[in-house]
Symmetry: none
Subunit: 151 residues, 2 copies
């Protein structure tokens, strides 16, 4: 499932954020009511629960590894995961641990991505965009790949 678009919302004093109605629609069409959110790369990753389960399986096959770093990753990534379901108005409650990890203030940005969507603090997102616009095209390898997309 691919999510599209960028949306701006506010988190209310209770810590609730709206989910874009288009995303909700896609989820219900796929027969999925719940979402799994976790912490990663300075923002919150949100997966349809079925997609998350797929990821979990992959993680499980690696967790038996004695590799300490892999284990640390799994603890962080999977350990942060929480399953949430939108309320009647289509909002989810972001638990304090995730809220503080992503430093979510009042204004947030929700981004569609392939397989998931992401929730960013607005200011952090602005910084991220700035960095991309500055560094992005200086990387010759990335520039070549973008060229090859034929956009």
């Amino acid at each position: 499932m691919i999510f599209r678009g960028r949306y701006e919302y506010t988190i209310d004093p209770k810590g609730r954020v709206n989910i874009p109605s288009r995303f909700r629609e896609q989820l219900t069409e796929a027969g999925q009511e719940s979402i799994v959110i976790t912490n990663y790369s300075g923002c919150i990753y949100a997966y349809p629960s079925a997609e998350w389960e797929r990821i979990e399986e992959k993680l499980a096959s690696k967790v038996s590894s004695v590799n300490r770093k892999k284990n640390a990753f799994v603890r962080f990534f999977a350990g942060g995961a929480v399953e949430v379901t939108p309320d009647k108005q289509g909002r989810i409650l972001i638990p304090p641990s995730l809220r503080s990890y992503a430093e979510l203030g009042r204004d947030v940005v929700i981004l569609g991505m392939p397989n998931r969507f992401e929730i960013w603090d607005r200011e952090r997102w602005d910084v991220e965009v700035g960095r991309f616009e500055k560094e992005g095209f200086e990387d010759p390898e990335l520039a070549r790949e973008i060229d090859s997309l034929g956009i």
Copy 2:
């Protein structure tokens, strides 16, 4: 699908822009009702939905990568994408996130391109044209590439 021509329109207070009737005609002939618009290089890129899906597949194959810069690119480019369908009068509504990115004022310019068309704020477009005319031919590499096109 190749779009041709440059058109000038106004965005009304509700954020709607007209799509050139010639373009609309091309789209319906190809059996495509919807358009995907996204943000790039200071303007809005508009693709026939089928064309966009082709790009999306390529992007999706890169997103699993942990490469931070690639992710940043996908976030920005795919995250900006929204599917829209013209209303009965042939207009589309540009979402606030894109309108602000491209700094669309009242007057906009729509440009035909191969595979897509672009929506520019009129003033920005004027600046862009000016820059090209001033710098364009001073870049030897670009001059060579243009030469090699055989136009």
